[in-house]
């Protein structure tokens, strides 16, 4: 155990986390240069495009220290978005320390701070690392001052490196060995292993990533998940290098994988504790939380006859995403589909994109909603996640909407703008903290519904990317709610209806009608879009028909070009949904997300 170190790299976005991880992997000699695919840890296309980590991966790096001793350094990757904060916390709980990466030109930024707090919450040893020292704009002295003043860390301990150019990598390895404490645990105690990730492998089934805190585990053991008492027989244990590398045993202090005939990722829970069935531990590791769907949206195939394809794609997708929940749903306008629950908006977007890219499903997702609760006049209670099932307003005694506590850390200069955004979005009960001289931490209680309408984008825009944002569910609170129906050419489109606070109903309905006007292409006839509450119209926009669509000349040399254009338009048409006689493009259904414009 003395030769094990478990650590994560944490950083503000673009400060070089993936590049440093790559460099460490490369320097350890685990992967040959020829096989080396840049930014190995972010292996999904989508992750590489967005530069964020969605599914974390872990790797055990062999390293011979300058003391001549052989070490195993477990680098545990963490997902980098607010929707996955619980997953991040479980990954950090599996570490003894972190490398806190700071860009030598950018200096300390919002997320650097938020990450530091997260690491401190888990009592981790923190090694500050100043990266990108090769940049012409690098200002190491200034960054050191910021590390002292804003992070309250000792900048003399900061390492200097350029992950891109491979400068200072040895020093990083040595610091991990010298400064981070080795794990402590009792190999003889009953097994306690914390699940911090799970992935589906089409040949091996579910591969569970875990950190063993006490005891040991080997193939043939029967394990028990402490959250639901489910038991499995272990087929194989091993470590990530980065391919699965079989081992005889995983013992206290180690990080590795378990394969145990677990059918889907959904049968496992990140944060759960694994113990042995015949010698169970008395306690779990840390606190376990069931993943909670916060945002709901319905998914429909664009072509109704693609429904079986959608069923198949969702089942396959779900194998690898425990956080996605879904059940059958149907809409008068869109036909058969599914109501899905997501951790947050990013999660929703990821599912949408991966369904399209990896499962080749052209889908429509309806405007996201949150979960509302009602006490009806007859005393019964009702919970809905889909505006379609909004009860008769006359029957409602009290309506409740979910509230979250939001936490925002920003440089002081943005305080005014952020306060306004929060109060505009019905934030209340504000509290402030000053974690460091130039930073302010703001807390608000806010309806979750306000956050799903482009709140994060707005925050990023008004703070020029310097705002870090996090939220946590609090409770459901009474709210004066209304359901807004959207009608296209006087035909109600159930999939476009949404629930709003009464105060915001009119402006939001107007914004939505305007957004739809931008998203729905002009057609040969006039299109009227209306928003109404209980039959009375509160918002309206009109899409004027085009009056003509003709090219003046078409002779021998024009025909191929015009046909090709027609073929292209025809394809575009396949991606539209006919509602009545109006073609509505896919993206119009989530247009409400982009309700506000700068």
């Amino acid at each position: 155990m003395h030769h094990i170190r478990n650590f994560s790299i944490i950083a503000h976005i673009d400060h070089g986390k993936s590049t440093l991880a790559d460099r460490l992997i490369q320097s350890s000699g685990l992967v040959s240069d020829r096989d080396f695919h840049n930014q190995l840890l972010d292996s999904m296309d989508l992750e590489q495009e967005r530069g964020i980590t969605i599914k974390s991966q872990t790797i055990a790096l062999p390293y011979t220290g300058s003391d001549g001793q052989e070490y195993v350094l477990n680098l545990i990757d963490t997902p980098g978005h607010v929707d996955f904060s619980y997953e991040v916390s479980r990954a950090l709980a599996s570490c003894e320390g972190v490398l806190l990466l700071v860009d030598a030109a950018q200096g300390v930024e919002a997320q650097t701070l938020a990450n530091l707090y997260a690491a401190m919450e888990h009592d981790l040893t923190i090694i500050p690392v100043i990266n990108k020292i090769d940049l012409p704009a690098a200002d190491i002295e200034r960054v050191k001052e910021e590390i002292d003043a804003e992070l309250g860390l000792d900048s003399d301990e900061a390492l200097l490196c350029s992950a891109k150019d491979g400068i200072g990598i040895e020093e990083v390895f040595e610091a991990v060995i010298e400064r981070l404490p080795p794990p402590i645990g009792d190999v003889a105690a009953p097994l306690q292993a914390l699940i911090f990730d799970a992935n589906y492998d089409q040949f091996r089934g579910t591969v569970v990533s875990c950190r063993v805190f006490n005891g040991s585990l080997r193939a043939g053991d029967t394990i028990r998940f402490m959250s639901n008492q489910a038991t499995y027989r272990v087929e194989e244990v091993g470590v990530f290098q980065p391919k699965l590398e079989k081992r005889q045993v995983l013992s206290a202090g180690e990080v590795g994988y378990i394969i145990a005939g677990i059918k889907t990722v959904s049968d496992t829970r990140v944060g759960d504790t694994i113990t042995l069935d015949d010698n169970p531990a008395a306690k779990v590791v840390g606190d376990f939380k069931e993943p909670k769907s916060m945002v709901f949206s319905s998914v429909y195939p664009i072509a109704a006859d693609d429904y079986p394809g959608l069923v198949d794609a969702l089942e396959k997708y779900k194998l690898n995403d425990a956080a996605l929940n879904y059940q059958k749903d149907s809409s008068a306008a869109l036909g058969q589909g599914f109501r899905c629950g997501f951790l947050g908006l990013l999660h929703l977007e990821i599912v949408q994109e991966r369904m399209e890219r990896e499962h080749n499903q052209a889908i429509i997702m309806t405007a996201p909603s949150v979960q509302y609760k009602f006490i009806l006049k007859d005393g019964s209670e009702l919970t809905i996640e889909n505006p379609q099932y909004y009860p008769d307003p006359m029957a409602i005694e009290t309506a409740f909407e979910p509230y979250v506590r939001i936490n925002i850390i920003i440089p002081e200069r943005y305080m005014g703008a952020v306060m306004k955004l929060c109060t505009d979005r019905r934030g209340s009960n504000s509290r402030f903290n000053y974690p460091s001289p130039k930073r302010i931490e703001i807390n608000f209680d806010m309806p979750l519904a306000e956050i799903i309408y482009d709140f994060y984008d707005r925050l990023k825009s008004i703070t020029q990317g310097y705002g870090s944002f996090d939220y946590e569910y609090m409770d459901h609170r009474p709210g004066d709610l209304v359901k807004i129906e959207i009608m296209v050419n006087h035909e109600k489109v159930d999939a476009l209806s949404f629930i709003s606070h009464r105060e915001n109903a009119r402006p939001r309905a107007l914004q939505y009608c305007e957004r739809l006007k931008e998203e729905i292409p002009r057609q040969m006839f006039k299109i009227i879009i209306q928003g109404s509450i209980g039959g009375s119209v509160i918002a309206r926009s009109t899409i004027n028909p085009f009056r003509k669509d003709v090219t003046a000349k078409c002779y021998g040399g024009d025909i191929s070009r015009k046909r090709k254009l027609l073929e292209k338009q025809k394809k575009g048409k396949d991606r539209m949904k006919m509602v009545g006689n109006v073609q509505i493009p896919q993206k119009a259904f989530v247009a409400i997300l982009k309700s506000e414009k700068d």
Binding site: R547, Y555, I559, R563
Partner: protein, 333 residues
């Protein structure tokens, strides 16, 4: 340059002697063939007649600029066997002609028409443009009709991105008619010319009788084979379409050693159908009902909107329907 182009053109014709032995129409245009010297024109036409067979009574058209048509030139063109003259009048207004950067004047345009008639061309077509800034289109159209040409092409001003006009339009110096005005002008043209006895047989083309219809252009619209020679020219044999390099030097060089063809596509049945649909919605012939996959309800809706009429198992666009010639194929498809 012109000589080597002519030489290349003759070489190219030779390549197709067997594939295209007989022609029902000949069209010399796309550019300004009237720029050719009398001698050049003469030897080109002689070569064409020697190489391939041109049917008796074939329509032989040449495109001309008004300032190139003298009394003598008109006579020569007649003598060379041209029986149809397409005159690029564009406008009868000097201000608009200079705006369009045309070399000729309104007077020259009138003279050209007169010379053509005197030389014995009974099939004359005038090209006109509408939607120009400050244009009195009705008056210009009346002036054109007064010549009683057999055929009129009335093109809506179209400004393509990347052209000087586009830059002027973007900077606000050139104000072209609004979409609404263009629609009115299009419908006005249809009704004025209808009153004057012209049939609106294609989006931009009008004829005073079936005998004056542009047989050559109609081949494009009816999906019949055609052979195009010269840079950028497209050809079609009913299934395959191919086209030449757009560069004149490349065109000339390639013919010295082989073929100037740079692109070729063989159309699938579905592609042929789409083309028929697209072309059909531009002409009075319309399209066979069997080529349309839209159901009866869609057709009824378009009929009641006055965009198409369905008769004799064909779907035919009305004048208003022709305004949506680029859109209707998508609806009917």
């Amino acid at each position: 340059m012109i000589d080597s182009w002519l030489e290349a053109l003759c070489c190219e014709l030779d390549l197709y002697r067997e594939q295209f032995p007989r022609f029902e129409t000949v069209y010399l245009g796309g550019g300004t063939p009237s720029l050719l010297s009398d001698q050049q024109l003469g030897s080109l036409m002689e070569y064409v007649r020697r190489s391939v067979s041109i049917l008796d009574g074939a329509e032989c058209t040449i495109e001309v600029n008004p300032d190139d048509v003298s009394r003598e030139k008109a006579g020569l063109l007649r003598d060379l066997g041209f029986n149809r003259l397409s005159i690029g009048v564009q406008s009868f207004n000097d201000r608009l002609l200079s705006l369009l950067q045309r070399r000729h004047t309104a007077l020259q345009a009138c003279e050209a028409v007169a010379h053509a008639a005197t030389a014995g061309f009974d099939s004359i077509s005038l090209d006109l443009m509408f939607g120009l800034p400050g244009q009195d289109w009705e008056a210009e159209l009346a002036q054109a009709v007064a010549f009683q040409p057999g055929h009129l092409s009335c093109y809506q001003l179209t400004i393509k991105p990347g052209t000087p006009f586009h830059a002027l339009q973007q900077s606000g110096e050139l104000e072209i008619a609004s979409e609404e005005t263009l629609v009115q002008l299009f419908m006005l043209t249809d009704s004025i010319l209808d009153d004057a006895g012209y049939a609106h047989y294609e989006v931009s083309n009008f004829t005073r009788g079936i005998e004056y219809e542009a047989c050559h252009n109609s081949r494009y619209w009816q999906h019949l084979p055609y052979l195009g020679l010269g840079p950028s020219a497209h050809s079609f044999d009913g299934h395959t379409r191919w086209w030449n390099t757009a560069s004149l030097p490349e065109y000339c060089q390639s013919l010295a050693k082989g073929s100037p063809v740079v692109g070729r596509e063989t159309l699938t049945a579905e592609q042929l159908r789409l083309e028929r649909l697209m072309l059909g919605m531009r002409t009075q012939r319309g399209i066979a009902r069997e080529d349309v996959s839209a159901d009866a309800a869609v057709l009824e809706r378009l009929e009641s909107a006055g965009l198409v009429v369905v008769h004799d198992a064909r779907v035919v666009p009305t004048a208003r329907g022709m305004l949506f010639a680029d859109r209707l194929p998508l609806v009917l498809e």
